[in-house]
């Protein structure tokens, strides 16, 4: 059997992928007034909607509305009805925010501060590590960046890294360790340089 046409997502699944739909800078510059007007027209509506519907603070509601406008900008050309899109986006953002907040409830003052949630027990160690890792990975070649990111930030196994880079597992393992050395050398040297200056 031949094949059914499915969706080449370059064209249909995501706006930025479609050359006809992609934001051309000139278009954005030309449309700055339009984006500004849409912001002004809808800002209060979005803030009020999300604040009243989800009972969240004005500041949080404003932050969410601002995020929704940025998301809107990134795909405005595929939106046929701006207001419907923005309203749906703010509702969904409100839901996502509530889910996020439910996972981050502050502990009561009386709670024994020594007893930490095991899920976050290592977060104070892990978070700076993640940020430092990104900073260190930024020092290496493009191939090393992707290899290190897959292995250490995304948790890919060596065979998975190999598939992603279309190579053998043996070569992928060598590449990862070579890249790690490169990152370590360059990151250390950069640190010494920064300290010297």
């Amino acid at each position: 059997m031949g094949s059914l046409s499915c969706y080449p997502p370059c064209v249909t699944v995501f706006c930025l992928g479609n050359p006809a739909e992609a934001h051309q800078p000139s278009t954005v510059f030309d449309r700055a007034d339009e984006f500004g007007a849409i912001y002004e027209e809808n800002y209060r509506l979005l803030v009020g909607t999300v604040r009243d519907h989800f009972y969240i603070s004005e500041i949080d509601a404003e932050g969410l509305a601002h995020e929704v406008f940025l998301a809107y900008f990134l795909k405005a050309d595929e939106v046929s009805n701006s207001r419907a899109w923005l309203l749906s986006a703010i509702f969904n953002a409100g839901r996502a925010y509530m889910r996020w907040r439910a996972r981050h409830v502050p502990l009561p003052a009386a709670f024994d501060q020594e007893r930490s949630d095991p899920e976050f027990a290592r977060i104070s160690e892990a978070l700076p590590d993640q940020m430092a890792a990104r900073e260190a990975f930024a020092c290496v070649t493009a191939r090393c960046q992707i290899a290190l990111r897959l292995r250490y930030l995304e948790g890919y196994s060596i065979p998975e890294v190999a598939t992603e880079l279309n190579t053998s597992s043996k070569y992928a393992a060598k590449l990862v360790s070579r890249c790690l050395r490169q990152a370590q050398d360059r990151y250390t040297k950069r640190g010494e340089r920064d300290a010297g200056s």
Binding site: G2, L64, V68, A71, S88, T141, Q145, I146, E160
Partner: protein, 384 residues
Amino acid sequence: MPVLEGRASYLRTIAQIANERAAARPAVRTLRGSRFDLWEKDIPDSWRTAGFVQELTTAASDVLEADPRESLALAQLALAVATSIPPDTYPTPILAQIEGTAWKEIGTAHRYRNEFDAALRAYDRAHRSFSSAHALSHDDAVVDFARAILLGEMGRYQDALDLLAAVEPMFRSFNDEGRIVKVAVLRGNIHMLQGQPQEAPPIYKRALVEVPEDDLHTRAMLNNNLGKAYSVLGDSNGAVVHLHEARQLFIALGMTVEVNRTEWNLAELLLLNGEFAKASPILQRVRDVFLEKGLPEDAGRAGLDLAEVLIATDRAAEARELVVTVLREFTAANLSAYALTALAYLRDELPKARQPRRAVRHVREYLDRLRDEPAHLFLPLPED
């Protein structure tokens, strides 16, 4: 934040990204088709912008149809560049959006290359990126839709239908009419894949009525699928009409691989009707294009259709030679060991088979089935 202050900050951000994209465009143009000798070089500081990443992901999706390999490389480069952008450079959703998009393009390029597990992994990462910001639920639904396409291709039909049932209300809430139609089309495709072709035409026809006239791509896709459905149902006239319409639209869109797939469907129709002389040159051309585009699995399946034509026209030796070539291509591309077993069986069986066409068809159907069930064992024809 007062409205005017927010508006000013918003306009500053979008102007910044627009400037970055304008600055990135010449460099990204140079990268396209360069085969990436820059992989071993450092990423210049001037590239480390959201605009540059967006240009790369746009380029990745532009070339996807014509060259999935290059699309994958561009999307991976986009991810590498995004990795090197300090997290606090942009407001919250921007970095999440560009990284999610890079992952989505990586997933889609893998899907085009039939690397389904790698595609699923990439879509998972896209989902994780998009859900790290509150306002990217539409992007997230788009990735779920892409994942439903993939699940359908993997033969996980119920999973695909479940996912479609979940994303459709999301698209409705965003008034995203285009994707609502596409959800319907994918449902039709899944009926086809499930062996319920009679269910598909009404779904496609209904969708065709709802698609705007200027949405050429969706119209092309629907016509191709209608043609395929009519072909399977034995309505040759209906099939030819819709396949030709689809071909014209794909040509207008410059979608080489899809033009090729539509021609493949036309050739199979000719094959079914015994018009071997007409089918032969089309299948040869289709196969050549798939090979050129780095799609050996499709090239191999088209090759077996061609082998069937050769046998039907008393050129059995050429058919066997072609099977040997296909086997070599599958081996070089490191494709499924089961597929290699089936092709090796065919190579050995053809010279002695009493019904060689039947043997070719048996292996051809097995290769189709293998796409849906990668662990399905090959069994020789019972009489043999």
